[in-house]
Symmetry: C2
Subunit: 261 residues, 2 copies
């Protein structure tokens, strides 16, 4: 049997806040033991990839930095590709995504007049002043990129408003859609994952808890898909969704038993 | 000739920031001299009605408090009607609208768990924390009301993000439309203006610079309408708009010469 690739969402799939989903460690160990490849793919832009590696290890799931891709990394690579020399990005976002951009050689600015691009990302320090800077940059022609489209992020005891809040605010004020959203379900994320795994989409499963990001990305990019019911989307939502998963699992524990489509 | 009612928008129509539109004072004087009635109707929720009276007087336009209606006043009256005893409102908005609610006997709260309603309004002190409070109140069943739908507010040297930003952020996170938007083009504003004037809609002109608020309210509530080109909407936008004004004027100076439809 040829090895397959398993791409796992993190929050709501592998763990909930600080608590691993029961059986997550055993499932991932079983996949690795039989020669399959594992990758973790998160839209969450407020943590560092190194933090995810540590967190997974704390939960008994060995992981290397190269096995974790988040929207911050893919966003930084995207700007690396589109920014010409001297072009600057005005960022609304937290430290980790700003660091990732700097590591990739992207020039940042806080001045709307200097911004060729704006990056919108989840920012718990978001203020009206930041919104106004984005708007003034847009009026001067800046293109607007968002790190991820998530409405909310699950946390212990509930959920918090995510980057969608910022996208919604900006779109309402400009009267236009933002130019690009990088995170899942964007093909940029799918391509980054496949390149890292060194596999074709048809040989991969995407396992996640969100229909509109995880399952949609899988469907639109030729991967197999499994929805787990430990996070945001419910079985009932799956039944009515335009993005039908190939399988619905109670949790990640069932992943080693997935049968090819 | 029977007297007619003239309902004027303020920002972008009567003045721009601190500068009166040339001829505004003479036009309004001419209407009053011939026995017509005048009312000022603003969506802007970050100033007091008393401030508008002072500002108009500074510009040589006599006005009484009863001739100025803003979205804060109509919002406060709306809550007065819908709030049952003990029901509280969580407000995202500036001092003037909070004061107007308190003057009308509305109980306010900052605790999501106590909020039966949420009011979204233009707030230059808007933060992520406030957004999260709104979201947590909504999750507990609070209804969401917005003071006005404006995308931006014209100011000297440009425009600033208005209440639409907040509505957009909240709708993106909840995945639902807010329950009610009070300001123009809502019929609540039209009714408040007509009641104050003591006139029927057919006897009134609405004069404003925004197609989607001023002209739309006039069309949907049976008033005559004149778009002035001193503010946000352009002649080109008017040509493509679903809300066609009866007349397009270079400025408020032409209002005394409006001919009945």
């Amino acid at each position: 049997m040829k090895p397959r690739g398993y791409i796992f969402d993190l929050d709501g799939t592998v763990y909930l806040g600080e608590h691993p989903v029961p059986g997550a460690d055993a499932a991932i160990r079983a996949l690795r033991a039989r020669g399959d490849r594992v990758l973790f793919l998160s839209n969450k832009p407020i943590a560092r990839r190194e933090d995810y590696v540590s967190k997974l290890r704390r939960m008994g799931i060995p992981a290397k930095l190269g096995e974790v891709i988040n929207s911050s990394l893919v966003t930084a690579r995207y700007f690396q590709r589109i920014c010409r020399s001297g072009e600057k990005v005005l960022v609304v976002g937290e430290e980790p995504i700003q660091e990732e951009l700097l590591k990739h050689g992207i020039w940042l600015t806080e001045e709307p007049v200097e911004a060729r691009y704006v990056l919108l990302s989840w920012d718990r320090g978001f203020t009206y002043d930041k919104l106004d800077r984005v708007f003034q940059a847009w009026k001067r022609g800046a293109e607007i990129v968002a790190s991820n489209p998530d409405r909310t992020c699950p946390v212990d005891g509930g959920e918090l408003p995510d980057t969608a809040a910022l996208i919604g605010a900006v779109e309402a004020v400009t009267g236009q859609r933002v130019d690009r959203v990088v995170g899942k379900p964007s093909p940029l994320m799918a391509q980054a994952a496949l390149r890292q795994l060194g596999m074709k989409a048809a040989a991969c499963w995407m396992v996640g808890d969100r229909l509109e990001t995880d399952i949609r990305m899988a469907r639109e990019n030729g991967m197999g898909s499994a929805l787990v019911l430990t996070g945001i989307s419910t079985r009932r939502e799956a039944e009515r969704s335009p993005w039908q998963p190939d399988h619905i699992l109670d949790s990640i524990a069932g992943v080693p038993d997935l049968k090819s489509r």
